[in-house]
Amino acid sequence: MSHDKKQAALDEILRSSGVDVRKCMRCGKCTATCPAFDEMEYHPHQFVYMVEKGEIEKLAASPSIFKCLSCFACMERCPRQVEPAKLIEAVRLSVIREKGANHLKPEQVPALLDEDLPQQAITSAFRKYSK
């Protein structure tokens, strides 16, 4: 990726998330409290400094962007109000907003259903995984 393109990708993530990554003091509390951290290739604190370094391409290619549970634990417990979940959301959106890049497709849904599964589960997954 050219320098300009890399900068544009970074600007887009910062604008869309509204996060100031420079506030992070690397304490790791977000990762320590994340219920999905062990499912992630890049943990929440790594998201913050990788965005700071402009490594958006790496993050966008990682399955980690689909592991966040949107539980707001990292946002609540960050002592510096960095809000890592908003960065994960912004990177995921930059991926699924591209044509044909939906992570969950409607035709996959029938196989995922069981009789007790609440609509809320499917609605949430669509909002997180698809555009």
Binding site: F72, A73, E89, L112, P118, Q120, A121
Partner: protein, 260 residues
Amino acid sequence: MKFSYYPGCTLKTKAKDLDRYARASCVALGVDLAELPEWQCCGAVYPMAKDEIATKLSSVRALASARDLGTDLVTLCSACHNVIKQVNNDMKTDADIALRANNYLKLDTPYKGEANVLHFLEMLRDRVGFDALKEKVTNPLTGRKIGAYYGCLLLRPSKVMAMDDAENPTIIEDFIRAIGATPVVYGMRNECCGGYVTLENKASAVKRSSAVLESAKAKGADTVVTACPLCLYNLQKNGGDAGVDVVYFTELLAEALGVK
């Protein structure tokens, strides 16, 4: 006491118990819950990005409708509550989101976050009052040991939800006391059940949900209560064999009020 009520999609389908026990309890408590005449699904998770507008519009419509009716808006499902309260905060505090949402909606009166959103539990605590509730209990659940399961969406982010201390909450424990049972405080009461990840990684949901129920059981809970249909599903289906019952808090409320 009259409120607008936003039930949400799941309460009309898989989570009918959460809804019907709430309605029956409100009749017993003299609370008039008037379902909004038209409402649309909130989308179940709050869209965090600054440039997500369309996904917030259904919440704005519900909020504007409650404002126009002149009533506070009561929500019941934790997810609806989280989405609608956070969108309301955006409409109040983020001029860009408010401008673009209003440009699209073309409401008679632009919406600027005027509505007041209350979770059903807040309505019980702050409007009915837990003391008044206690007086109306005809069938106290004496001897039951009940753990409150807050999960993630009811209280966080606490600056916006402004409902209780997100790390040391008391609202559901106080509710449990009001219906005559004994609250059980346990470590995992405000940690995530796994949520929608159950769709593509059941093992992860099993790990999260069984940790919650094991934690409740270790502290002696026989029952855990929730306000969230997805939490109920995960704890019941993916929660392992801790032997702890998982029910909606409204079911116990209706039982205590003698209207179940």
